[in-house]
Amino acid sequence: MADPAPDMLLRLHSAANVVRAKHTDLQVRIRRRDAVEITRLKAAAVSRGHRFRDLVLGSPARHGAVLAGDLEPGAVTAALEAFGRAVLVEMASGPGRLRLAAEIARQGGAPS
């Protein structure tokens, strides 16, 4: 029977070369900035989300009195705060968000 060892070793070495090539390809993509670290993206997205949230929740205090008109400013500010929180909750839990993002990414282009 033919000795399988040389073939097996050759296959293993070939497979190792494939992995090395994939690793090199990844390094090239990183250096060209075609690939981005997911943790950095998440950190930026969280920071952006917190900024947005803080603006929404802080706006009633800044604008409630002006928007109240003839209404009681304190009541309008409180109502605007509750409204802002409800909008943020809807935004964070909306099922359309991730679905739309996935769809756009699959299409490979931005929505019109």
Binding site: A5, M8, V36, A45, A82
Partner: protein, 161 residues
């Protein structure tokens, strides 16, 4: 056996046999001949797997060990690559997602004055729904002016990440 004879019998280079003699691994008798049994015991058993068919069980064991080592090394390489690859995503795709999420947030904000939250706002103040929506549209406009260009911010964040 002569050096050449032993080398031929074992499928080896005569230079290798002479080197092993110089290293003291293979001995030569007074006539300069090699005792094949001594040479096999001292050297042939440690030879590489490709000569398995000559060296029998020792060569087979060496071949198995080399295959196992190569397979383990490959598994480790694959594991390390998968771990590193999993840390990254395509930047262009991330930009699309970020832009999409920004537009979604803006869409929710623009639609908010006509949402159920707007009805709750009207009820809490005891005012007409139309008046409530007018107040809320102004409120949303002020908030969005403060937020600025959310899409541009998202794209910048992706570019800078």
């Amino acid at each position: 056996m002569s050096v050449k004879g032993y080398a031929r019998a074992r499928g080896a280079d005569p230079k290798t046999i002479r080197r092993k003699i110089a290293e003291g691994v293979i001995a030569r008798d007074a006539d300069g001949l090699i005792d094949p049994e001594q040479a096999d015991a001292a050297w042939a058993s440690t030879r590489q797997a490709p000569r398995q068919h000559i060296n029998g069980e020792a060569g087979a064991q060496a071949a198995t060990a080399r295959i196992a080592a190569a397979a383990s090394k490959l598994r480790l390489m694959q594991q390390r690559f998968e771990q590193e690859d999993g840390r990254y995503t395509d930047r262009a795709a991330a930009a699309i997602v970020a832009r999409c999420e920004a537009r979604y947030a803006l869409d929710v904000m623009h639609a908010a004055p006509d949402s159920a939250a707007a009805d709750a706002f009207a009820r809490s103040l005891g005012i007409d729904t139309g008046i409530a929506r007018t107040i809320l549209r102004k409120f949303i406009a002020l908030v969005l002016a403060e937020v600025g260009d959310l899409e541009a911010q998202a794209m910048r964040d992706v570019e800078m990440a």
